[in-house]
Every structure is written in C-alpha cells, then in structure tokens.
Symmetry: C2
Subunit: 226 residues, 2 copies
Amino acid sequence: MGPLPRTLDFFYDVLSPYSWLAFEVLCRYKNIWNVSLQLRPTLIAGIMKDSGNQPPAMLPRKATYLKNDIRLLGQHLQVPIHFPKDFFSVILGKGSLTAMRFLTALKMEQPEMLEKVSRELWMRVWSRDEDITQPQSILAAAEKAGMSTGQVRGLLERISTPQVKDQLRETTEAACKYGAFGLPVTVAHLDDQAHMLFGSDRMELLAHLLGEKWMGPVPPAVNARL
Amino acid sequence: MGPLPRTLDFFYDVLSPYSWLAFEVLCRYKNIWNVSLQLRPTLIAGIMKDSGNQPPAMLPRKATYLKNDIRLLGQHLQVPIHFPKDFFSVILGKGSLTAMRFLTALKMEQPEMLEKVSRELWMRVWSRDEDITQPQSILAAAEKAGMSTGQVRGLLERISTPQVKDQLRETTEAACKYGAFGLPVTVAHLDDQAHMLFGSDRMELLAHLLGEKWMGPVPPAVNARL
C-alpha cells in the first residue's frame, strides 16, 4: 500500500471563470497525482462581502485585461471558455445563488454527479452565454450531465431547505476561514500544514508542494484522449 | 540565419515583489528562448494612480495571502525573497522614485549594467530588508553590481534632470497604454500583435504564445549552474 492520498479542498462558484479553469486542470490531475479532490460549492458573493473585496472587473482596465487573459488561457488550457456578451448583467447582476444551492444539494445527495453537473453549468454561462438562474436552465444542465428529470426536480424542490442553505453558508465560511478573498481557492492538506492557494495560476506551485510532477495544463494522459 | 528574435518588453519596479520573481524567470529564459528581453524601469506609483487601482496589500486578507504566496513562490522559483518587517512603511510609504530614476538613467547611459543593478536593489529591499531610497543605498547596490563609485556618483547627479524624469514618465505612460494596472507587465511582440501579460504567473502562457518550451521556473540550463 502506497502513501495515503493528500486531500485537496477545491472551493468554487460557477460564476467564476478562473474557477472553471482551475477545476478542469485539477480534474485532469486528480487521477495522475496521489490526491483526493474534494469539490466544494461556494458562494462567491459571500466571499466578496466577508473579505471586503471587489470583483476585478469593477476596475475598467482590469476588465479589459480579464477578457483577453481568459481568451488566451482558454486556448492554452483547452477549455472552451468565452466571455458572456453582457458581462455585468450576467455575472455581477444575476449572481449564482440558485445554481450554487443546487450544487450544494447535489453534493449532499448524489456527490458522484457533482463534477459533471458543475461542468455543464459552466458550459452554459461561460461558454454558450446561457442563463443559469432559472430552474429550467439548471434542469437542462443537469440532464445534459446524465441526470433524470425526476432526480433534478426532486433536488430543485429542496434547494431552499435550511439544510441546503446552511451547508452552502458553512462552506463559504470555511473558505473565508482559510483566508479566501475570491475564488477559486484550493487548500492542500499536507502532513504538517494546510496551504491555501488562490486562483487558477498556482497549479505548478501546487505540484511542487505535493512533490508531484507538473506536466502543463493538459497532461499527456489527458492529451491522448482529446 | 534563424528567425529574428521576438521582443519582450518587461515593465518593472523594484518595489514590486512579483516583478522580481518574473524578472528572474525571464533572465533565465532570455538565452534559451529566441527573444530579445528589453528591461524597462517603470514607476509603480504612476501606474496605480493612472489606472485607479489599489495595491493588493490594502485589503487585509490579501496582505496575509501575499506574504505566504511570496514565501512559497520564492522557494519554488529559487529567488531569496523575504517580506520586509514593516511592509507598509517600506513599500507603500517610502516608494521607489529615486531608485527608479537611477535605473532609468542607468538604462540611458550603461544599459549593460541594468540587469545586475536592478537585482541588487531587489536584494536590498526584498531580501535583506535594507533601504533603497537614500543615495548611499543606491551606491551600495550599484557597487555590489560591479560599478565604480565615480560612475554611480555621476549618474546620481543626473537623476533629477528633465531627460531622466521625462524618460521614466514616458515608460510609465507606455505601460499604461498597454493596459497596465500594476506591475510587472510583459509585452510580447509577435508577428501579428502585441500581447500584454500581467504578473509573474503567466510565464507558461508566454512560452505557449511564443511557441517556445516551458521547462518550469528554473530551467535545466540554469539548474546546472546553481
């Protein structure tokens, strides 16, 4: 028996484009590195409020940079990410509360579906510029991920229960306790301590901390399948 | 004769720790990749003012993260970077005007010394927690880099001339025109367009854009010399 896998807590919100980029890279490496990847749906609005931070796109020059940065990173990382046409209304206006409550309920009841449904929600909002706030939008994403209509409707009925609301709040608070001021946040639990890494651009550093090999954002084992 | 090297404009300030990290990585790769690295001393205070941005350390949770991030990156990148004890007074209070004017004058008169003197200034402020605002501090850094006392004194006498002031202002404005809202900024001039990359964590993306190979922050040719 080899050494026990190290736990990686990955705090994310489907509203956050850099969360998607980091998510795909970690999903590629989770079977290559000796890690146990824990996906933790989090509310980015809660993180911003608690930390006093502002979304980077509030500064005009950062917004311009962000657009180009995400386009280039999407190409490099081979993630089909595209900016929504009306960024401010879609991302800063509508928010992600329903979607993140749904993912929270999903994690509680069918955690094996969490990766696929999260990806389909990102595909909607950050690739095809489609809504993720309405129940029928969430239904469409979850069905695309392989869930039945009945399963999805059952979960949608429970997203406003205290259990689900409390769980999303607790996860968001947990991220804040690790020092989050935005998302994504990856917490690597090593023998001696927990390291909190912010953003999608600390993956090579994460490999270094884990003592694992970094083979670029598209490691060969994944490349062979593309 | 091979293809002409692509120009990389590197805008930096010795007050900026991420500028140092990016600088060392680029100095390692400049003889490995087919590039011409242009070091461009810039005033970070001017960039912040023009863009309306705030230093990240102004947000308490970002300041805490920054400290740990820089420590981990310093280990990973093999750069002896350490946080000054009184960060706010040293970095946000004292500033870097004299140092950046000195580097501007140096670039105009002895550009071959720019890399070494810049590194010695970073070694002072970001490794040994020493002053970089006083003429004798700059003299010590420049002498350590191999310049004579006479050369340094001559340059120090000219750092307040309109030529030097204007040049630093022009470089800072040039970075702003590329969309800078902080430093470092690396501008890669490719055949078809210029790509502006912010920070020290876009080096693998830079390699991708250049069609060059990324071999980690400490490429083997450098490793062999360490």
